[in-house]
Amino acid sequence: MLAHAILSGLVFGCYFTLVGLGLNLIFGVMRIVNLAHGDVVMLGAFAAFWLFALIGLHPLISSVIVLAAFALLGLPVYYLVVPRLLAARDSEMLSIILFFGVQQIIEALATIAFGTSERSIPGRVLGRGPLHVLGQTLPVAWIVSAAVSLLAVALVYLYLYRSRVGTLTRAVMVSRDEALASGIDVHRVSALAFAIGVALAGLAGVFSPFMLGSATPAMGGDVNLAAFAVIVIGSLGDPRGTMLGGLIYGVALMLMQTYMSAWANLLPNLLLIAVLLVRPTGLLGRQVRRA
């Protein structure tokens, strides 16, 4: 039981890393909280569902399409709202409200377009039968989702640490003003990060029917709560921190389900608070405590 809980927690945690990854990137670069993140995940789920239901497209192919399409969708959204938002006095806090509005719009449109019933893609599409790993059995769909998540984390890491624009992105993360002063095209860097963040949320959505059972237009709120826990436990802005946060979240959730299931949702929240109080910027974060 213990081994199973830990192993599936790690696999599940990989997926939750992906869920938090986009939110984290956007926060890290722009210092804005994308409250509509969970709703973008939902849109990704419905995109994959319809691509599968209408033309029988395999989710792995859908995920490439969703990545590209959502990135393209993210760019105009960035230029429409973010520069204006960042010009405001307290943009970090205002972003919460702005994206609350965006979330309402997305959920309303999704309800009109898709209805309210649960939707999903059969698990067998990603491979049949349970898989035996280290003496434990796990659904194949979980392993595939976790593998895709790991790949996404690796790519984001390479982007940030092995590419030129990634270096600029990190410069913006450290200090937006100084980056601006040193001649970096902050808006181009931010727009790219925003587009990638939205695309990652969409990607997480493609695999949500396998990891979360089913998708509805109302799922965004719960996804957000989990994503917040993951990125704060890790540390805002750093993809490796998100990975750590995702794994801790996954294992903690599964251990709670095993030993005190009715309290399972409490632990991630307590963990988040505890981590923040001990290390206010997350486990891998730099120190920036106020006063």
């Binding site: 377009a113 209805g115 309210t116 019933s117 649960e118 939707r119 979360l212 059972g213 009715a262 399972a264």
Partner: protein
């Protein structure tokens, strides 16, 4: 000084603006009030009294039905089908010239005023009050799901408005001192699982399956059912032993670890009681994990059959036990459409709405049927007469979900659902075999297939 005046003006403008905004809403109500008959005025007249006009007609132009639904948020997936089912009934009645209203001796058209509370209980409370005090509705129907129904219960009672409760099964709503509520379509949670525990203690135990695991979502609906089952299984002389009994948060969306934990307790029977999303996740994880139990029971395969079939698949549902609702067991209705007719009308109206046909759709339609019968036999639209009329239907009204029966507090105790087992049918369909109670059974249970 100037500033003081401006501020005062602003405050006044705000209040006036708020009143003006509703003027449009209250206007038709005022017009209709002029057409009220005496018995109704006594009960529903409020502070906004208008002088009675001479020579007023005997009947109102329409019967106003107030209702709430949630088009978004966590309760949307159970609320929308109820709303659309009710709407279908209203549209059908109006196409036929309205419903017979006994006090006026003729058919009157219906007007359904349904607000969207967005699954927000605070908004639901305000809108309930809006329906009663501003729209001056004749009949009040609550939103589905106990959390949203709950806020309407005290408001309806305070305004002495009878509350038609389609599916809010919370046992706390029904008390002897509150005459202003009746539960229409779902059996109350404490009674609903009765056939299940009887089945477990008789046929299942006789087959040697006595170790039971209960996994429930911690909300009012499934928690109350779990408690009722637990109490019955622990009663003295019960042949059944509970070997696993855990609650999980309703937001739980993965069950792989929980299934592994249940398996470690080596149960013969697994009861998973959750909402639609919980059941889908559980059944998918169960199938993917390869774990087998001799008997598995979940709630929603019988309640929202087509949603579950689309999400968990034929293989995921085969062998599973569930309630057999009117979706799979035909009751000859004396009032309203048969299941087939209703399903056809639903597909015609809502095939593209993204709201699946299921038990909640039927519940909305049955709510309409009860309303129609109430109007046909009430002495007046005074709310206590309405209550008397609703209770007079108890034990007599037979619809496509069986016999409507209320206890004295207004909780639904008829329409109990038998227990059935799912078998595959055709390439990707399923059908139910009723296995309990014996009087309704049309087959034998097959254990060990799940």
């Amino acid at each position: 000084m100037l500033r003081r005046i401006v501020v005062c003006l602003l405050a006044i403008a705000c209040v006036a603006g708020a009143r003006g905004a509703w003027a449009q809403q209250s206007r038709p109500a005022d017009e209709r009030l002029g057409g009220c008959f005496d018995g109704y005025l006594d009960k529903a007249q409020t502070a906004q009294a208008t002088a009675p006009q001479p020579g007023e007609p005997a009947a109102p132009a329409e019967i106003r039905i107030g209702h709430l639904h949630a088009s978004s948020g966590p309760y949307a997936s159970i609320s929308m089908p109820v709303y659309l089912g009710l709407k279908l009934w209203v549209e059908q009645m109006n196409a036929g010239g309205g419903v017979m209203v006994k006090p006026f001796g003729r058919k009157l058209p219906l007007r359904l005023i349904s607000y969207d509370d967005q699954s927000n209980p605070g908004t639901a409370a305000t809108l309930t009050n809006q329906l009663i005090t501003q729209d001056k509705i004749d009949l009040l129907i609550a939103d589905s799901g106990s959390v949203l129904t709950a806020v309407s219960v005290p408001i309806a009672r305070e305004h002495k408005m009878f509350l038609f409760d389609p599916t809010g099964t919370g046992a706390a709503f029904f008390s002897k001192d509150n005459p202003y509520i009746a539960l229409l379509a779902d059996p109350v949670s404490t009674v609903w699982p009765r056939f299940l525990w009887e089945f477990l203690k008789s046929d299942v135990a006789a087959a040697g399956l006595t170790r039971v695991a209960i996994l429930y979502s911690t909300n009012d609906f499934t928690g109350t059912q779990a408690a009722a089952i637990r109490a019955a299984l622990k009663a003295p002389g019960s042949p059944v032993q509970i070997v696993f009994d855990q609650g999980v948060p309703t937001s739980t969306s993965n069950y792989a670890v929980l299934i592994d934990n249940i398996a470690a307790a080596k149960p013969d029977v697994v009861l998973e009681l959750g909402y639609v999303g919980n059941d889908i996740a559980f059944l998918r994880n169960l199938q993917e994990s390869g774990t087998k139990f001799p008997m598995v029971f979940t709630l929603y395969p019988g309640i929202e059959t087509s949603t579950l079939l689309k999400n968990a698949g034929q293989a995921g549902l085969s062998g599973v036990f569930s309630y057999v609702t009117a979706l799979a067991y035909s009751y000859p209705p004396e009032v309203g459409m048969t299941l087939e007719q209703f399903r056809d009308s639903w597909e015609k109206s809502y095939a593209k709405s993204g709201v699946e046909f299921g038990w909640n759709a039927i519940a909305g339609y049955v709510t309409g049927l009860v309303l129609g019968q109430t109007l046909a036999c009430t002495n007046s639209l005074a709310q206590l007469d309405v209550r008397k009329a609703v209770f007079s239907l108890s034990g007599k009204l037979k619809t496509l979900i069986g016999t409507f029966e209320l206890n004295e507090q207004g909780a639904q105790i008829g329409e109990l659902t038998p227990i059935g087992q799912i078998a595959p049918e055709g390439k990707d369909g399923i059908h139910f075999t009723v296995v309990y109670p014996p009087a309704m059974a049309n087959g034998k249970p097959i254990f060990g297939t799940k």
